[in-house]
């Protein structure tokens, strides 16, 4: 049980330090111009990264894995372009994905 708490505390402290790192480094005085530049452009790059990150475990060679992913991803993009309704895009594509996985490509 002691070991259990030790692991939990280490994981919690390290995770908090990772999240807090930029705030600790740039805590005193003004934020450098380069960091302000990153603050403007990096979110766009991170969003691109997050899309790849979300799909990173797809087995592209296996069509029972790739077809549902491609179909659901296309659904999100097209619905979002068309209706601009986040909830609709997420629900419709997720339902389609679950249907493809559970019924079509069992």
């Amino acid at each position: 049980m002691e070991r259990y708490w030790g692991i939990m505390i280490v994981a919690a402290v390290v995770t908090y330090l990772i999240r807090a790192l930029p705030f600790l480094v740039f805590s005193n005085g003004r934020t450098p111009e380069v960091i302000l530049y990153l603050g403007r452009v990096l979110p766009y790059a991170i969003m691109g990264f997050l899309v790849v990150f979300a799909l990173r475990n797809t087995e592209w060679a296996d069509h029972t894995s790739s077809i549902p992913i491609v179909a659901a991803t296309a659904t999100v993009i097209l619905l979002q372009r068309w209706k601009r309704n986040m909830l609709l895009s997420v629900v419709a594509s997720t339902v389609l994905y679950m249907f493809l996985l559970q019924v079509v490509f069992v």
Partner: protein, 229 residues
Amino acid sequence: MKRALRAAFPFTIPVLFGYLALGFAYGLFSVDSGLTPLAVLFSSMFVFAGAMQFVLVGLFQSDVSLFLVAVLTFSINSRLMFYGLTLLQRMSTLGPLKPFAIHMLTDETYALITGVPTPEGVDDKYFLFSILLLGYIYWAIAATLGALFGAFVHINTTGLDFAMAALLIALFTDQWLATKEHRPALIGIGTSLLTLFLFGPSRFVLPALFLSIAMLFVFRGRLEEVKKL
């Protein structure tokens, strides 16, 4: 604050779905592996990082050293430090709430914060904090419910976790449509695909983000005019 919470809630509904599914699965899995519901709640409250919490369940049963736990935690969660880096200014006015806001940053809530414009008449810092707080609460509740009732509920949730990916893709699409300057987004996708191909899904995160930053500096002269989000 109440007003900000009300304004933020509709935007967080996709996160609610995603966290309910994943958090519930996490709670169920943990209890199956011998954790108590209280341990599940504490892990969700104090570690609060989905993938890492799944890994922790395995670590509790192993005999790895605490140093290795720290190294593993760093390698799995390192991407989180880049989020705060772009929020230094927006979070600087949060005052006593700031340490909590920092703790509650996740992939999904970060994407919402940068992707959704703060509605008219709502204080930006409270809107941002509301999104973070709601995500935090959803996860803790879902994980605890999974730990308490997971064994009695039989729903086939295969594929429900796509809600998370869908949210990120939808936010990306919105951001893409909102600007004519697509180079930062293309840099993010390009470097991620390249490093994913080179290093594989479990090791591409840090190379992707550092390479992105390097490329953003290469194009700095031409990207300086990009407007603030």
